[in-house]
């Protein structure tokens, strides 16, 4: 029983990790950027939802539908942020060493963090939306409804992105740029624009996930790093540029963390996930899905 409960808890948050990591993997795979500011984009998305709900007059327990209605706004807002970030800044290091992208995006992350503190203070905030009867109980396993909504929301975001990349013209262009930017340029693809769109999509999905995080947990200016680091683990696990890999990786990471908290001790959760990051890089650099991280660099 306990086991099932821990796994369910893990899957419920794991879907959010997965949605964050999908965007992280996309940028890494297509633009060649390790975006250390990815978690900050999630944070911004969370604040979009928080403030919209607060201004509509219900931060203390507003309707869940109002909160859900803010998700598209967060997606759109963060798409714009991501597109501009790539166009104005990241494009200058897109072809540089992967390591330099770590530095630049770290710089972006601390700037965003402190601007958020200046603008909204460090007080943790959360959207008080909820249900009168908050959980579904199946055979003694508790499933909070709001988390279930966030779970499906995050999965939906992930699948939408996957479908977009598979079926649309722009999606095919993105994949072409990921595989070979030079060849893509030769066949007439606007590489700079495509990369900016990719960054925008990645930021949007992070922002949308942030909305759900604001609903089920809380948002705070300093929250980003934890999500960025989890994305690292998931992408290294799932393989670079693989959306199914990131999805499975996210669900697994969530489960591993909750199982650790449940059976071993919650103090070891992060030690376990970060050890996984190092060990996976060493023993299985290709990830379980998709291209190896080594190949992805080129």
């Amino acid at each position: 029983m306990a086991l099932t409960q821990f796994v369910v808890n893990g899957l419920l948050v794991g879907a959010l990790f997965a949605a964050v990591a999908v965007g992280f993997a996309l940028i890494w795979g297509v633009v060649g950027i390790i975006n250390l500011a990815h978690g900050e984009l999630l944070m911004l998305g969370g604040y979009v939802t928080y403030w919209l709900v607060a201004f509509s007059g219900g931060s203390g327990g507003g309707s869940i539908w109002v909160a859900l209605a803010t998700v598209p706004v967060a997606l759109a807002a963060l798409y714009a942020v991501g597109y501009l970030l790539q166009r104005l800044l990241v494009t200058h290091v897109a072809d540089a060493d992967l390591f330099l992208t770590l530095l630049v995006t770290f710089g972006v992350s601390i700037v965003l963090q402190q601007l958020a503190i200046q603008a909204w203070s460090a007080t943790p905030r959360s959207v008080g939306a909820g249900f009168a009867d908050p959980s579904i109980v199946i055979a003694g396993v508790f499933i909070p409804k709001i988390k279930l909504i966030a779970f499906f929301g995050a999965i939906a975001l992930t699948l939408l992105l996957w479908g977009y990349l598979r079926t649309t013209r722009r999606g095919r262009a993105i994949r072409a740029v990921a595989q070979n930017p030079e060849a893509a340029r030769l066949v007439g693809i606007d590489v700079a624009h495509t990369r900016a769109v990719t960054f925008g999509l990645s930021a949007a999905i992070a922002g949308g996930t942030g909305s759900f995080v604001a609903m089920i947990l809380s948002v705070q200016p300093q929250m980003g790093l934890a999500y960025t680091l989890k994305s690292f683990v998931i992408v290294v696990f799932g393989g670079l540029g693989s959306i199914p890999g990131a999805l499975v990786g996210g669900l697994l990471l969530g489960s591993v963390e909750e199982l650790t908290a449940g059976f071993v001790g919650s103090q070891w959760t992060l030690a376990v996930s970060f050890s996984l990051l190092v060990v996976l890089l060493l023993v299985k650099p290709s990830g379980l899905f998709g291209r190896s991280v080594e190949e992805g660099e080129g």
Partner: protein, 449 residues
């Protein structure tokens, strides 16, 4: 920073802006006699929300003292107070250099402590080495005061005391708890609190069914709460900060955790806690070193009630014990200056040792280790039936009670929230001598709310 000369100019300019802009007190004393208090505070970083409360209190208190003519020191001169407050980003590696800079470059002799134990520790070492007295209202780890440091004075009860009064309260109830769950964040302060709780629970013969530490980064407590639920613990103690207090209150219902008492050492008494948790925040307990409805006399503000209204009118929020402790930090120095025959770090330090006075915060006097002798009160969020109050039991003073009600009203209005949570009030439920209402113990089960 193109050339050396421009850098030197830059540094020189820094010195100037450092004093005038950061103090917030444009007018120097007419006679030019000023005493500078200096310190660092968490103005950004993890604890920026609480750091702001101290800054507000420091500024307000100094402003009031200066408006009333300044400090008439024991040497016969009247001084204006001036403050230099730097930002340590809640980073323990910054505080050392900041305090050293204040002492050497700004010539500060009297130090205001930073917020949080980890930042205070290195700062207190600088104070000791340079023999400058430091009074602080934001570092509660017992380790700060167990180093034999004779230059540090703390206005908060030490961290290990935070959970004690809540446990005492539970033990005094008709059906005292037999087992407890203890969830602690992995930081100095929370670990000290957890240690205090553990010791107390063992003394009282309460079984600790769940004893878990979680990393600061943890944002979801579902699994831990599931363990609490299946352990059937009677009371739940969370040793952590506001972020986790909010999550706890929000997730207890979803995880159907029914305990007789749920308390958080920090962060469950702020208005933003209640705004975000709504009705789920009801019945949650929290400790405070300060009773907002107390009737202590205060030489700067008049009384506790007047201090509360001063903060409310100046900053638009209801003060909590951080504010009161912050004001008491400044007043401790003010008193010490009044008592010494000639100013100087050592004289002032000696005066602080023997000091005894009351402020809005309460009686101020320090033990041999430099810590104020104070116990925690226990507050609880109690839903109000009709919204009309006044029926408080055993309140000391009617005016003070009104202050509390005004405060609650302001807090409901601030942020435009708290609406659906119903009109809940934060009331003192322990110890009995000052309690406003009986604790609602056990907390009602979720199914009955």
């Amino acid at each position: 920073m193109r050339t050396d000369t421009s850098r030197r100019k830059f540094l020189a300019a820094t010195g100037l802006t450092g004093v005038t802009a950061l103090t917030g007190m444009g007018t120097a004393a007419a006679q030019g006699n000023t005493i500078t208090l200096g310190g660092s505070m968490s103005l950004s970083g993890d604890n920026a929300d609480l750091g702001q409360l101290y800054r507000d209190s420091y500024e307000l208190t100094i402003q009031r003292i200066n408006e009333a003519g300044g400090v008439e020191a024991g040497d016969g001169t009247t001084y204006e107070l001036e403050m230099i407050l730097r930002d340590d980003e809640t980073d323990a590696s910054k505080s050392r250099a900041i305090y050293q800079e204040l002492i050497d470059r700004e010539g500060v002799d009297y130090l205001l402590g930073p917020y949080s134990s980890t930042v205070t520790l290195p700062a207190s070492a600088v104070a000791a080495r340079n023999q400058r007295p430091m009074v602080e209202g934001g570092g509660a780890s017992p380790e700060i005061f167990s180093q034999g440091n004779e230059w540090i004075f703390g206005l908060l009860p030490t961290a290990d005391k935070y959970p004690l009064s809540s446990i005492e309260m539970a033990m005094a109830q008709d059906s005292p708890p037999e087992s407890a769950a203890l969830l602690a964040e992995s930081d100095t302060f929370s670990q000290s609190s957890a240690k205090g709780a553990r010791q107390k629970l063992n003394e009282e013969g309460v079984n600790i069914a769940v004893d878990q530490t979680f990393p600061t980064e943890t944002s979801d407590l579902s699994t831990l709460l599931g363990r609490v639920r299946s352990s059937n613990a009677d009371i739940l103690i969370l040793a952590a900060h506001q972020k986790h207090a909010v999550i706890l209150a929000k997730q207890m219902e979803a995880q159907n955790v029914d305990v007789d008492m749920a308390m958080a050492t920090v962060g469950s008494l702020t208005s933003s806690f209640k705004d975000q948790t709504g009705a789920n925040g009801d019945y949650v307990y929290g400790p405070s070193s300060w009773a907002i409805n107390a009737t202590f006399e205060d030489s700067v503000f008049g009384s506790t009630g007047e201090f509360v209204s001063a903060v409310e009118s100046e900053y638009g929020y209801q003060p909590d014990y951080h504010n009161a402790a912050g004001a008491a930090v400044i007043q401790t120095f003010q008193r010490a200056f009044q008592q010494v025959s000639s100013l100087g770090p050592t004289n002032v330090r000696n005066a602080i040792r023997d000091i005894q006075f009351t402020t809005a915060y309460g009686n101020v006097a320090f033990g041999d280790n430099g810590v104020i002798d104070k116990d925690m009160l226990v507050y609880q969020w109690q839903p109000q039936a009709g919204g009309q109050a006044g029926g408080t039991t055993q309140t000391q003073n009617g005016t003070a009670t009104n202050g509390t009600q005004n405060g609650t009203a302001t807090q409901g209005g601030g942020g435009g929230a708290g609406g659906s949570g119903g009109a809940s009030r934060k009331v003192i439920v322990w110890p009995e001598s000052v309690q406003q209402r009986q604790p609602i113990y056990p907390m009602p089960n979720w199914s009955e709310r």
